[in-house]
Symmetry: C2
Subunit: 387 residues, 2 copies
């Protein structure tokens, strides 16, 4: 466990491939909590080339446990990027045409400033002294990165799940900096059930004595057991019941008969345990707390007296809203609420619910109808932009 | 924590009000695992009087975290019985007419033999030496109790959730001992998603160092943090998303604004924490492991080459199958599968899906349509039985 946490600590502080930019020494990053970060680091990857007019930039926003390695191998696991099938030459996000940027979110643990980063005022990891952040704070950091890269206006911002929340926040508060927006399997606010599942995950982490009240990195420990439980629980919510049934049913794991014990009898148990135990090697437990909290706090209507449509008044962003029929974590009803709000302000919005039994995680998968829809939308927008 | 576990230990070993019967010294209770228990104890409550012909007995089967105190105060919490509104004079299960029996399940922790009971061969609590049990084993213990009480044939067996599983097992394997059966919000098998949620709960308990590899009772400890996390997770699955939204939405708990911290900001968090922290005072963590395992193992079709209908061939039991429209843990599709199997063997079955947004836990609530349906079914059956 110590090795894992040290390795995470190193990675969280920039000991990894890719780009790192330190910003905010002159101009702090002001946060919704009233606190600020100065300096702060954003770690990011880019794919393709920025054109001369700086008009072909695509921002890919990652989800809760995602990272900037969207289309190249993960430095800790060696696995292909989480959107490898989406980003590259002649792929949906065609790197022959577009300059694709993906940054580790603020609060993350893969190089961008987060709770495992060194607090410059103490020389030790922030831990729970790190300020609680919001989706808007993450977007503020993304905007600062765009400033740094000299990108006034994105051609497209796209992301699934929490990535979609960032896309929505960006489109709402920085509509002049974005031409088109694709929030996938997202929602304009986090529901009570979403908050409840996150709270259980957080409690699992905080119940682990190795969490050390958030100070595990200073104690050469890591609450891996609690984090694994949190991941296992969350993973169930990312899949649909039919998908779990199709993939695993009640099939036994490496045995012919029930074992009458508490080892993993069923394949689904074995799968979940694997999900939990591999996750802890690549993710910082405190980051998990902070990011889930940011998602819980997300409610686009909040700054508008509960009127979601007001979040998009006068927008000229082109929206393509996408949901999945079997996604019960961010169900289609949430996307419909969003689309109704956009319609109420005469926004340019198309909406599609994609039929699939793969649940919330479908946005990560090679889902043909999603690809066809995205391809059409992006081509149409590119034509309008002359790209 | 020590006080709690000792108190649970005392209660698990019969230091509580109500009836206890020790059986099996002459005739062991043979279990599906191949092991046996001799002796074993069943703790039970009764309401109403057994008639002269012994034909008016109703067996109420409780759910995972229920107990025999269905219609009288709980000895640890002092709260009213979990089906207090259902059992009593002139209520649905009318104690002026019926003799209602409710027994703590085998593997439970409220007097019936379970992992917190004293293992007679060591003089210490069983812990993980307790044999893994099944729903059929629970039913075997119920049958032994009926034998003890001199009841050849029940008028009715009724129960929700795991209680419904016992009703189905009883109706399948002891059809000559039951006139009518009401499984509510149940299923003929535990789904992959159900198993997955249970596995997370078990992992939360087993990840708690105070679990002591199952030996906490011998170490004056109790894995209360792990058990609380398991309970919180399970509790989400007992409610529907609309019910959570109606009850809590995104309302804050005792504050006007977000606190930017990890205390319970939202009412739903506060509610879940309360559910977790009160549960540990009344439930044994190892019991939770054993009972969830028994539920996971439940698949009525298993002994019949996967053909569920074969489990009911030739039955003359009257079935009333009930599901709730917003129950996503034991959805209506599962009840329909059961009803189709019963129809395939020309069983006497009526089925109703009750419209409610209250989710799985609706079976515990004062749900008017459920009451009306039960009332009609029970009156009809009583007429047939001349009661």
């Amino acid at each position: 466990m110590a090795t894992t946490s040290l390795s995470l600590l190193q990675v969280a502080n920039g000991n990894l491939p890719g780009h790192l930019v330190k910003m905010g020494l002159d101009k702090p990053l002001y946060l919704d909590s009233g606190k600020s970060l100065s300096p702060f680091v954003v770690a990011y990857e880019t794919y393709g080339k920025l054109n001369q007019d700086h008009t072909n930039a695509v921002l890919v926003c990652h989800a809760l446990t995602g990272d900037q390695f969207a289309a190249n191998p993960h430095p800790l696991t060696g696995k292909p990027g989480w959107w490898d099938h989406m980003i590259g030459p002649d792929k949906i996000l065609d790197t022959n045409r577009f300059f694709v940027i993906c940054a580790n979110i603020l609060g993350g643990c893969l190089g961008s400033t987060g709770p495992a980063s060194i607090n410059p005022s103490t020389g030790k990891p922030w831990g729970l002294d790190f300020p609680v952040i919001t989706i808007s704070d993450m977007v503020r950091a993304q905007i600062r990165l765009l400033d740094h890269l000299g990108i006034d206006k994105l051609f497209l911002a796209i992301g699934g799940s929490m990535g979609g929340m960032q896309v929505l926040d960006l489109a709402s508060r920085y509509s002049d900096r974005i031409f088109a927006a694709v929030p996938i399997a997202a929602a304009p606010r986090h529901s009570a059930q979403n908050i409840a599942f996150h709270e259980v995950g957080r409690q699992a982490i905080m119940a682990d004595p190795d969490w050390c009240q958030g100070g595990y990195l200073n104690n050469d420990k890591c609450p891996t057991r609690g984090l694994a439980v949190a991941r296992m629980e969350a993973h169930i919510t990312y899949l649909s019941e039919p998908a779990l049934h199709r993939k695993f049913g009640r099939r036994l794991q490496g045995r012919e008969e029930l074992a009458f014990g508490f080892d993993a009898d069923f394949q689904v148990e074995s799968y979940l345990r694997h999900q939990g135990s591999t996750f802890v090697d690549r993710f910082d437990p405190n980051s998990y707390l902070y990011i889930t909290r940011a998602m819980d706090y997300f409610d686009l209507s909040e700054g508008h007296n509960g009127n979601l449509a007001q979040a998009f008044v006068g927008t000229d962003v082109r929206f393509c809203v996408m949901s999945f029929s079997s996604d019960w974590l961010y169900p289609t009803t949430e996307s419909r609420t969003l689309v109704r709000a956009l319609n109420a302000v005469a926004a340019n919005v198309s909406f599609i619910e994609i039929e699939t039994d793969k649940g919330h995680d479908a946005f990560l998968l090679d889902e043909p109808e999603m690809h066809r829809t995205l391809s059409g939308f992006i081509d149409g927008c590119a034509l309008q932009m002359g790209l």
